[in-house]
Amino acid sequence: MIQLKNIEKYFRSGLSKTYILKNIDLTIEEGEFVTIMGPSGAGKSTLLNILGMLEEPTDGEYHFFDEPVHKLRERKRNDIHKHYMGFVFQAYHLIDELTVYENIETPLLYRKVKSKDRQSMVAEVLDRFNMVAKKDLFPNQLSGGQQQLVGIARAIISKPKLILADEPTGNLHTKQGEEIMELFKKLNKEDGVTIVQVTHSEKNAQYGDRVINLLDGWVATDEKTNQ
């Protein structure tokens, strides 16, 4: 599904280069649940952003379902990003001015889904996440766990093939975190959604089936979990 060849990201300052990512070769198959770990500043988020096409690598090749992303124009890249990917953030990043219902609906608007279909799709997701009663509340009226639930609902509403999650449980307490991770696992197993998450937590990593450790921009280890 995803193939990275020799991906590099660096900033030039004068003659020297400051590397954030260096020489990353990575293949992710459809249906995998991958965890990226590593100390602060190791380049985890940058790698996730590159996978999600929010940032461009300075160098290297990125193939997504055999499409050479690094060669594509922005519009085409946007299209792939729009149709195949969902994002979940540590700080949830819901739009404060929109209700739960509207937040979940937003990605569908950008995919030009018809109004009737939108209604049924949002209703289905709300039902699945047990949030029907909360659909008219604004984000600041929800607990952190609930907000993250909305964040995930929003990420999966358009049935993406890939979910990218940046420390999805970072702002949550343990019990909420566990619930969220269970949800990810379920999505991965039952719906076959590919998931790539960034986390600091060893425990969360165990929900997935592969762990990639980054160190100073390099892939230090890449191994299967005990599952």
């Binding site: 990043h93 819901l94 739009i95 001015e97 929109l98 509207e102 950008y110 358009s158």
Partner: protein, 790 residues
């Protein structure tokens, strides 16, 4: 999608009431001013447009030797003959006016009676409310305006009622009302309250023979056939010139011109001796538009600045939307749409404010006959303008923020290292422009105010403060009234004149054709120079006991002496109206057109009481009102049948003073708005800057920076902008107000430099206070709290 945008826009608005209030207020006022400026401009554009034949109607004017502009008083038979003899002319229409008294029942009023050819109502479009157009052909009939019909007959129908023209005088005539015409728009070049057949001029004590080349009309028009070339017509009109010049030698006509009727109102001042209604200066229609545009642009810049400074809150949303799959295009559309909503809200407010300002505007310019209305439902141009200006404002104010905000990368936004640089050069120069515009208006206001004071105390070269003018007709009335009022000890002097200095004047040609000199003619009577305090520099004044002074003598002004380069003017010969007269004295230059024109070379002729049209009564300035009452009482005793009409000499300056005072008011009003806009713009900029630099300030304070140091750091940039904007605004403002004054007047005072400097300092103080008010909150905050929240 659209509903989603709309929802978020309205939620955004309801959560940022301060932001919305500042912008809707600013833009609303600016739009209100623009709306009024637009209808004001339309007033000039739509002048006379209601005539169905407008495209083929022309006023005939003639350029003459010695006159700087063509003149409107074309000889009476010309267009009547031309209509018969020149193919291509469908009709010739003559129009004139006479001051008369009109008596209905026991009421007598002084009115202006208009006279016109039979075909006048068929050629021009003046809709009748009652009656039939063809009645104009009947010399015993008269048409009356709706307003006057109310004044004379109240609710009764005026049709069939009898009125007496010049009752009790020679040439008294009974006319029957045959029609009532609808209100004529104020921006019409032909306006009248009473209309009868041209035949009226052929009667009375001084009957006009309208077939003679020596009689002229107030205005002559031709209606051309479609597609006829103007030059073909004027060429043929010119063929009459030799015959006409021979018939009256005092004026040498060079060529006839056709002034399109569509320009008659706007260009009326380009025609001499023009009796048509027009604007003194068509800048009155476009200058307010420029000022309004300036204010609108300032408001838009303000909108831009505040939108950007409030956009920090929106960044996250923009980032999320991009991650959700929004393209940049869609974000721009969304942001521009939000600007549009603000602008539409502003427009609603603007329409309300415009409604409120309109009467003030109309009152201000009423004396020039400018009256505008906001008729949204019947004015397609206005509706288009509203749509256009809203789009323009939304684009001008919203485009930069929309492109700017939508350009950020979501990854950068989420990482938290994107904050708006409220301090980039563009935003700073926008503020500079606002400051400059504020100063331009402030300086304009000061300039007009100073000019008003200057003109109020200006010495016109004759007594303009202590004279009462009484309208009358001829020797009998003059002498009777003069005797009647002689008992009043407050009356210091009485003079008579045919034309009234300061109110009407006549420019004529001096000498032989080749001398090419244009002079003002003043036809004055006994005691005129003494009563008017005109100074004799050389020679003597007129003597009523010398018969030869009436027929052979003139007084001239110093200006004419200078122009002729005479060293001893007394005894020199001057030729006007085909007669040669001798100069007996030189009068000091004066300002007959007060501030509108510099002194012009003038010639005084001595007139006998028979031709007097006005009596000038001199009193002490403190006695003006009581003496006027006395004159009115006496008049009613002596002439019970005739209405009393009087006016003060200082009214001659009324128009000029109104223009300067209104200019000052207008400018100061705009200045208030511009300063308000610049202040809010500055405030939001400072607020943004302080917010952005809160951490830096807190750290500096923890490290021991004092109030002075913080103030300096925060203000450094603004001070430079204020200085540059201030100086630019002051210089351009001074130039611009001088330009505006120059359009209106020949006699005015340039704005005083020290007050301009004061204005710059004033603006800087207002700016410093604005910054200071924000600074206080920063300095009062505990730096520890700021750092904690970071």
């Amino acid at each position: 999608m659209f509903r989603n945008y709309l929802k978020i826009a309205f939620r955004h608005i309801s959560r940022n009431k301060g932001y919305v209030f500042i912008n809707v207020m600013g833009l609303g006022v600016a739009l209100a001013i623009s709306i009024i400026a637009f209808v004001n401009w339309q007033q000039g554009q739509t002048a006379d447009k209601y005539h169905e034949n407008l495209d083929n109607l022309y006023q005939v004017i003639v350029s003459c030797v010695g006159m700087d502009r063509p003149t409107a008083d074309v000889v009476a038979p010309l267009v009547a003959r031309a209509a018969n003899e020149i193919s291509g002319i469908k009709a010739g229409i003559r129009w004139g006016n006479k001051g008369v008294t009109i008596k209905s029942g026991t009421d007598v009023f002084r009115e202006r009676l208009s006279v016109a050819d039979d075909n006048f109502l068929e050629t021009f479009t003046f809709p009748l409310l009652e009656g039939d157009k063809s009645a104009l052909k009947d010399p015993s009939k008269i048409f009356i305006s709706e307003e006057k019909a109310k004044k004379y007959f109240g609710t009764q129908t005026p049709i069939g009622k009898q009125v007496t023209i010049n009752a009790g005088e020679a040439g008294q005539k009974e006319l029957t009302i045959a029609g009532v015409f609808a209100k004529i728009p104020k921006n019409s070049s032909i306006r009248f309250d009473f209309l009868t057949n041209l035949d009226f001029l052929k009667q009375g004590p001084n009957p006009y023979d309208l077939t003679k080349w020596s009689i002229s009309m107030d205005a002559s028009f031709v209606l051309l056939d479609k597609g006829v070339k103007q030059t073909d017509i004027t060429e043929q009109l010119n063929s009459y010139i030799p015959e006409i010049n021979e018939a009256n030698e005092w004026r040498t006509r060079v060529k006839y011109l056709l002034q399109p009727m569509s320009l008659a109102y706007l260009e009326s001042r380009e025609v001499n001796n023009n009796r048509l209604n027009g604007v003194p200066n068509n800048a009155l229609f476009w200058l307010p538009g420029i000022l309004a545009l300036m204010i609108l642009i300032t408001a838009c810049l303000n909108f831009t600045n505040t939108t950007i400074s409030f956009s920090n809150k929106r960044l996250k949303e923009m980032g999320i939307r991009k991650v959700m799959g929004s393209g940049r295009q869609q974000l721009i559309t969304q942001l521009l749409g939000e600007s549009l909503i603000i602008c539409v809200l502003s427009l609603f407010l603007g329409v309300v404010i415009a409604e409120y300002l309109l009467p003030t505007h109309n009152n201000m310019w009423d004396f020039l006959g400018i009256e505008v209305a906001l008729d949204y439902f019947n004015n397609t141009g206005l509706l288009l303008f509203l749509v256009g200006i809203v789009l323009f404002t939304a684009l001008l104010g919203g485009a930069y923020p929309a492109f700017y905000i939508s350009a950020f990368k979501p990854s950068a936004i989420f990482r938290g290292n994107t904050r708006f640089g409220g301090d980039n050069w563009l935003i700073r120069s926008l503020l500079g422009v606002q400051v400059a515009v504020s100063l331009m208006t402030v300086v304009g206001g000061i300039s007009f105010m100073q000019n008003a004071n200057y003109q109020k105390s200006f010495d016109l070269g004759y007594d303009s403060k202590s004279i009462i003018n009484v309208s009358l007709n001829g020797a009998l009335a003059f002498n009777k009234f003069k005797n009647g009022i002689s008992e009043n000890p407050h009356i210091l002097g009485v003079a008579g004149a045919k034309n009234n200095l300061g109110f009407n004047s006549w420019s004529t040609h001096l000498g032989k054709a080749e001398d090419n000199r244009d002079v003002q003619t003043h036809l004055v009577g006994e005691q005129f120079l003494e009563v008017m305090d005109l100074n004799i520099l050389e020679g003597r004044t007129f003597d009523e006991n010398l018969e030869t002074d009436y027929s052979e003598s003139v007084l001239i002004t110093q200006k004419l002496v200078d122009e002729q380069q005479w060293t001893s003017p007394i005894g020199k010969k001057i030729e006007t109206y085909g007669t040669t007269k001798k100069v007996i004295g030189v009068v000091e230059d004066f300002y007959p057109h007060n501030f509108f024109r510099k002194p012009i070379a003038s010639v005084f002729h001595f007139e006998k009481p028979d031709s007097y049209r006005v009596m000038k009564v001199k009193v002490a300035p403190s006695q003006l009102i009581s003496t006027n009452k006395f004159l009115n009482k006496k008049w009613a005793e002596i002439f019970p049948l005739m209405p009393f009409e009087s006016y003060y000499q200082d009214e001659t300056m009324a128009d000029a003073l109104m223009i300067t005072q209104n200019g000052a008011k207008l400018y100061l009003f705009l200045a208030l708005i511009a300063v308000f806009l610049a202040t809010t713009g500055l405030y939001s900029l400072v607020a943004m800057n302080v917010q952005k630099r809160a951490k830096e300030i807190a750290i500096r304070r923890v490290l021991g920076a004092g109030v002075k140091n913080i103030t300096y750091i925060l203000n450094k940039n603004y001070f430079i902008i204020f200085a540059i904007g201030g100086v630019l605004g002051a210089v351009i403002g001074g130039q611009f107000s001088a330009f505006a004054l120059d359009l209106a007047f020949e006699v005015y005072q340039q704005v005083d430099k020290s007050s301009v400097i004061l204005a710059v300092i004033g603006i800087c103080i207002i700016g410093a206070m604005t910054i200071g008010s924000k600074l206080v909150t920063v300095l009062q905050a505990n730096p520890a709290d700021t750092l904690k929240s970071e």
